[in-house]
Amino acid sequence: MMLFPLKLSAQTDEQLMLRASRGSDHAFEELYNRHARRLQGFFVRRLGEDADLAADFMHDTFLRLYAAREKYHEGNSFRAWLYTIAYNLCKNHHRNQLTIVRNDEKDMPAEADIEVELDTNILHDALREVLKNLPEPYAMLFSLHYEEELTIPQIAQITDLPEGTVKSRLHKTMNIIKQQLKQYENR
């Protein structure tokens, strides 16, 4: 045991979560301050730009985490746990929509590299539109991997999918994005 414990801001997420699991509310508050904004942004993008709903979901995620804080085991990834709760909340919210989207998977482009030529300024606005209209299972994987920067094993753990499936779907997601971006080439 350390005689002079590190400042909360200097500790890793896992160290803070361990302290929170032992009853430190300050450690949990530090975790909230670190991740709340990013998680709320994730919900905004995944719940269709509904800011109030996203704020509720974000807070709900942290409330669930707080209620289950004593179950945290040393060594587990905090972010993976946080996004598992967030993913399940989104999944419940989109349950009916996901069923519809799954049937459309056959129509997705084959796994081939698509070349796109775009101006950087156009890419910014075009990508915003493309990501908004991306089918939900692909949008979720894209968000978890590229926006929230979770690793493929973590995503596999969160989504309860094999790592190979996650990889192939991410590749397919990139192809869908590129194919849709091609529509902006001649504008």
Binding site: A36, R37, G41, V44, A51, L118, L127, E147, L181
Partner: protein, 139 residues
């Protein structure tokens, strides 16, 4: 410009940061779902519980109290025949009030309650109004 995966990822993260920066994030509050102060709930709740308890006890006291308990005393007027002048009573009354004895025998009847308790009494105690007070029933 030719767009590759890295361009898309970089732009997506740029969009993410722009969107996240615009968000209003409320501070951590683990009691977020309970905005109302507890005392504001507890006081009206206590008042309602007290009111209901009062009604309940009042209803119970009504059912347990017999109707007769509300009446203190029941008076029964028993019609009695004219009291007979007892010779012993006459003699006692004559000794006590000689003046009254001279006026007539009808004036010599005494209230049973006013008689001296140490003195021996005979006959039934009858009052002036011909009510048998010894038959008063107290419920």
């Amino acid at each position: 410009m030719k767009i590759d995966n890295q361009d898309i990822i970089r732009t997506a993260r740029q969009l993410r940061d722009e969107e996240n920066a615009e968000l209003h994030v409320s501070p951590w509050n683990r009691h977020r779902h309970f905005h109302v102060p507890t005392w504001l709930v507890a006081l009206p709740a206590a008042a309602i519980i007290g009111f209901v308890f009062g009604l309940w006890t009042q209803a119970n006291s009504h059912s347990e109290t017999p109707l007769t308990a509300l009446v203190d005393t029941v008076y029964i007027k028993v019609p009695m025949p004219q009291p007979q002048q007892d010779s012993v009573v006459q003699a006692v009354s004559a000794a006590l009030t000689p003046a009254a004895a001279e006026s007539g025998p009808s004036q010599t009847v005494h209230r049973a309650s006013s008689a001296n308790p140490s003195q021996k009494k005979y006959g039934r105690p009858v009052a002036d109004d011909h009510i048998r007070y010894d038959l008063l029933v107290r419920n």
